[in-house]
């Protein structure tokens, strides 16, 4: 999911990354709406709200909305900054660092909400800011490593693209195109996963409240852990096949040094 970059990614890699991150984004968005009465995984609406607050002259709200939009932007900036600057040292590390930061944000929100939240406006705004930054990180990372194919925190573009794709499928030439079919599968799975995450969060919130953020973190740990497991598996296979190869070479050498050919050479020498 996270190891491969840009065009080296398969459709399967993108679907796995897309569904898991979209599920967590759906959960984050619904839980923020239920807890803080504001969305946290999309900023399109906030641009309209920003304009409306400026027109009304509500400068406090203007500043807050501006800060939230900026934090979403900054999340995207930080994620891609990490990807492009640490990619050469270790691709997996560079790609998993933004997800790790996102997990930290989610854990911070969950922990603070669970033990200290007094429902003051300042706390609400800070917690929402952390969630918007985390969603910016997630969207920035998925877009960056998938060559802008996977965006999971909002569904405006996904819905538009699906509409376009389904209209294309009215023609046989596009219907049989495997790239377009793959794209439709990817977008469809992102959309369904986002909605599923939102429904699960909506139900779970009434039972576990702020603890839901630990569940979201767990999903993100799966995103990181899946690749760590894969890397270990690849390393294990690589090491075992290298060992096998070395063992075979050593046996071969040993046979050559002390094995069968020696008496023949002896015979040849005596014959001469």
């Amino acid at each position: 999911m996270l190891r491969k970059f840009s065009n080296s990614r398969t459709l399967g890699d993108n679907i796995k990354l897309g569904t898991l991150t979209a599920f967590s984004a759906g959960m984050v968005n619904v839980v923020s709406l239920l807890l803080f009465l504001s969305f946290s995984s999309n900023v399109t609406g906030y641009y309209a709200i920003l304009a409306a607050e400026i027109v009304k002259g509500n400068w406090y709200q203007t500043a807050i909305v501006f800060a939230w939009i900026f934090l979403f932007f900054f999340g995207g900036f930080v994620a891609n900054f990490m990807v492009i600057h640490f990619n050469k040292q270790n691709k997996y590390f560079a790609h998993s660092l933004p997800v790790s930061l996102e997990i930290l944000c989610m854990l911070a929100v969950g922990f603070y909400g669970d033990f200290f939240y007094q429902e003051t406006l300042f706390e609400t705004e800070i917690l929402l800011a952390l969630m918007l930054f985390a969603m910016g990180l997630q969207n920035g990372l998925t877009a960056s490593i998938s060559n802008f194919a996977v965006k999971t925190t909002h569904l405006t573009g996904t819905t538009t693209d699906l509409g376009v794709l389904f209209s294309m499928f009215t023609k046989e030439e596009f219907r049989s195109n495997p790239v377009l079919k793959g794209r439709a599968w990817l977008l469809g799975s992102i959309m369904l996963s986002y909605v599923a995450g939102a429904i699960v969060a909506g139900i779970a919130y009434f039972h576990i409240g702020f603890k839901l953020f630990y569940v979201i973190s767990l999903f993100l740990v799966v995103v990181i852990g899946y690749d760590a497991y894969k890397i270990r598996l690849v390393r294990y296979h690589w090491n075992s096949s290298r060992k096998k190869y070395h063992r075979a070479r050593t046996n071969d050498k040993h046979q050559r040094l002390v094995g069968a050919p020696a008496p023949d050479l002896e015979e040849e020498r005596t014959a001469c």
Binding site: F36, L37, W59, Q61, I64, A67, E119, L121
Partner: protein, 149 residues
């Protein structure tokens, strides 16, 4: 080149942060502005499904079990999220309040756990306007207007 670029980036981010801090500090936080006594001066249904629905809405509003109609009350917003409602019959009730969202939603929590959310459409020194979405069947917005005492 790299140093210059870093300076530009850091400068832009620092300016953004400073601008935000200046904006936040120069205006009053709605949580502080709301503290005090407010007298309810108006209670109207602002939006209806169709003309002539006023009667239906009033009937449904009165019948609705969870809906608490606040009319001609004095609302005293106290620090630490306490709200004292002085009803017209002279009965007092202390409940909880919190401002959520970007400072645009007033949440009122009754002692039985029931919550109401109002859109804080206007909050200035002497006037407060709340909009309350009744429910999905009625689809009307009740507008409550307050003046500071």
């Amino acid at each position: 080149m790299m140093k210059r670029l870093s300076a530009i980036y850091i400068g832009v981010f620092a300016l953004t942060l400073m601008g935000f801090t200046w904006m936040i500090r120069s205006v009053t936080n709605p949580e502080q502005l709301i503290i005090g006594e407010w007298k309810e001066t108006g209670w109207v249904y602002e939006r209806l499904n169709k003309v002539g629905d006023e009667e239906k809405v009033n009937l449904q509003g009165n019948r609705h079990g969870n809906l608490v109609l606040h009319k001609a009350e004095i609302w005293s917003f106290l620090p630490k999220g306490r709200l004292q409602l002085q009803k017209s019959g002279g009965r007092d009730e202390t409940i909880g309040w919190a401002i959520k969202g970007r400072g645009n939603i007033l949440e009122i929590k009754y002692n039985n756990g029931h919550k109401e959310q109002y859109d804080l459409s206007q909050l200035v020194a002497d006037r407060m306007v709340l909009n309350f979405e009744l429910d999905t069947q009625v689809k009307g917005l009740a507008k409550l207007t307050f003046e500071r005492l």
